[in-house]
């Protein structure tokens, strides 16, 4: 299972490795590794025992190969690695559960592999590449971060073996991709556009914390610079100058937000495939959206049907309606101007993509690069800037205060201001106030006691949908207030205990309450419609 010089060199270990055969195993490893300079992975799937002589072989290998990892380790053998401290020295991974997808419904196919539905609530996304477990873990971290930031998404909860590849297991409640809906029920186009634009705006309105996510601007600028080097000098300079003028931004962007990655699940829109989650100006989001709906298929018209499952006319309509709804204008001139900017970046990106990943058919690749060039050049003549004002109405507002009773008015005012702007009726404001007080005071009294700490309150007010979503995040002891039994409200005054009504009232006055403990934080969400 070894390919190129720098690729991962996977070497199987099997049976017992002890003083009787350690020298032979070491020779065998050296032979298999000959000519490789990349990382080495020891596949311990069939390894039943390893003695200290065997461990010394691995230790010597580690010296010449710092990237060494041992994978597919059975529980017994893992104990040996653990007790001897090897798990601290190198990556030692337990064997994965094996899942068969034979006969399971294929519900999607992505860049990495197929997506199967194992049962009603579980899907497995398969990967062929050997680095899959790392990719899956990375994506899981990004999805967790997205969820904490308020993006509805699905989080993988297990990595399994599927055949000779890997699978990432997700819980997905009866979800359908927007691609599937558009393909089978084109009459739902407007509904899909509305949901799609709402989630895009929601995403782009979120401040991402510094240093946690890659900058999509940096990544795109590198691609643009490589393309610009091939352009006529003056136009290349112009392109670079315009691209560099796009400001850094802490907006959250998905990075691959097309309709296959947007799911409709039981009344809620979810974004999946978080591996490209980044920060940056939304123009970069639109770059990849354009490519998904139009760019790739401009060279290969069959691409859209193969990839999204609907035809080009549907893709064109969906894209155009998305621009109209996102930018809030029907003015064709404005839409065209925005689209020109997006297309400049799209073609620069596609040109670079083709240079980085040639198909092997030189004539075909030449023709494709030629097309991106011929599309890009006239745009560069007429476009003077690549930025646009992001019509995100308001950022996802956030307030961090000390978890102390006396900060309650600050929190109430912060939310009240937004509700007033959104035209929320006074009675509902009062109910929301009540829930906010109960939740905040609860945190102030119990989360950090007897110490102190902060609470972050996030308010997402969607005036069009007449909905407020509040999130309270604290780093105190894990506590799910919703798990507490409701008080018996039929008892007499003398029978009743003082207190215990706060969370009960919160549940009564709000339309939805939810609790999660993620990354060491209590996350309580409240929703109210009016």
């Amino acid at each position: 299972m070894t390919n190129e010089r720098n690729a991962v060199c996977t070497i199987p270990l099997s049976g017992r490795v002890d003083s009787a055969n350690a020298a032979a195993v070491e020779r065998d490893i050296a032979e298999k590794r000959a000519g490789h300079t990349g990382p080495v992975v020891l596949d311990a799937a069939d390894l039943t025992y390893i003695s200290s002589a065997g461990l010394r072989v691995i230790l010597r290998l580690k010296k010449t190969c710092p990237d060494l990892a041992v994978v597919n380790v059975s529980p017994d053998v893992y104990d040996i690695f653990d007790v001897t401290g090897f798990t601290e020295m190198m990556r030692v991974e337990r064997a994965y559960r094996t899942v068969s997808v034979e006969g399971c419904e294929v519900i999607g196919e992505g860049y990495n592999g197929k997506v199967y539905r194992i049962d009603r609530d579980t899907v497995i996304k398969t990967y062929k590449n050997a680095e899959a477990p790392d990719d899956i873990r990375r994506e899981r971290e990004l999805a967790k971060l997205a969820l904490v930031l308020g993006v509805p998404t699905a989080i993988s909860y297990d990595v399994v073996r599927v055949g000779d590849g890997y699978g990432s297991v997700f819980e997905l409640l009866d979800a359908r991709s927007f691609s599937d809906i558009l393909a089978k029920e084109p009459e739902k186009m407007d509904l899909c556009v509305a949901e799609y634009v709402a989630i895009l705006k929601k995403l782009h309105a979120i401040h991402a914390p510094a240093g946690k996510l890659p900058s999509i601007r940096q990544k795109t600028l590198s691609a643009v610079a490589r393309t610009a080097a091939h352009l006529p000098e003056e136009l290349g300079r112009k392109l670079m100058k315009m691209a560099e003028a796009i400001p850094e931004s802490d907006c959250l962007v998905h990075g691959d937000c097309h309709t296959k990655n947007v799911m409709w699940a039981g009344g809620e829109t979810l974004l999946i495939d978080m591996d490209t989650l980044s920060v940056g100006h939304p123009v970069f989001e639109f770059l990849h959206m354009y490519n998904a709906y139009r760019g790739y298929s401009e060279y290969d018209p069959g691409e859209i049907l193969r990839f999204q499952g609907y035809d080009q006319a549907t893709a064109d309509r969906f894209w155009h309606k998305t621009l109209v709804a996102y930018f809030g204008t029907n003015d064709e001139a404005k839409i065209n101007a925005v689209e020109d900017k997006i297309r400049c970046l799209s073609y620069a990106y596609l040109y670079d993509w083709k240079c980085l990943f040639p198909s092997g058919d030189a004539r075909r690749d030449e023709a494709e690069r030629g097309l991106w060039f011929s599309r890009l050049l006239p745009l560069l003549e007429r476009v003077d800037t690549l930025t646009f004002d992001v019509p995100v109405p308001e950022r996802a507002d956030e307030l961090t205060v000390a978890a102390k009773e006396e900060c309650l008015p600050e929190v109430t005012d912060f939310i009240g201001e937004r509700l007033q702007k959104a035209g929320c009726p006074p009675k509902t404001v009062m109910q929301i106030d009540l829930a906010v007080e109960e939740v905040f005071v609860n945190i102030a009294h119990y989360a950090y006691a007897p110490g102190t700490g902060d609470v972050t309150v996030r308010a997402l007010c969607a005036p069009d949908e007449k909905t407020l979503t509040l999130t309270f995040i604290d780093g105190g002891r894990p506590y799910d207030p919703l798990s507490k039994a409701d008080p018996d409200v039929t008892l007499t005054a003398d029978e009743r205990e003082i207190g215990g009504l706060g969370i009960f009232l919160t549940k009564k006055v709000m339309d939805g309450v939810g609790y999660a403990f993620e990354n060491g934080h209590n996350i309580l969400t409240l929703q109210k419609k009016w």
């Binding site: 109960e438 005071v441 409200v489 005054a493 706060g502 009960f504 009232l505």
Partner: protein, 98 residues
Amino acid sequence: MTINKTKNGGALTIAPAGRLDTLTAPELEKELQTSLPGVTELTFDLSALEYISSAGLRVLLSAQKAMNARGKMIVRGVNETVMEIFEVTGFADILTIE
């Protein structure tokens, strides 16, 4: 919140106005501690009360428990918003609301 009170022999009327919440409930509690001794008929006039949270309910329940032992307690002037809170929490049944 402001608290108006009128005392007439063993009858005490307390009229909290504004918001009865976590931050203001302790004031009302203190007021009751001072004024309640000797009172046999306690009336809460809530006509100027705009808002009540569980902290306010707590004070009302303590007062009700105290008055059960030595007289009666009446609540009046309850507006619609406050009444809803009384209803969902079962306070509509344990308080004597006029």
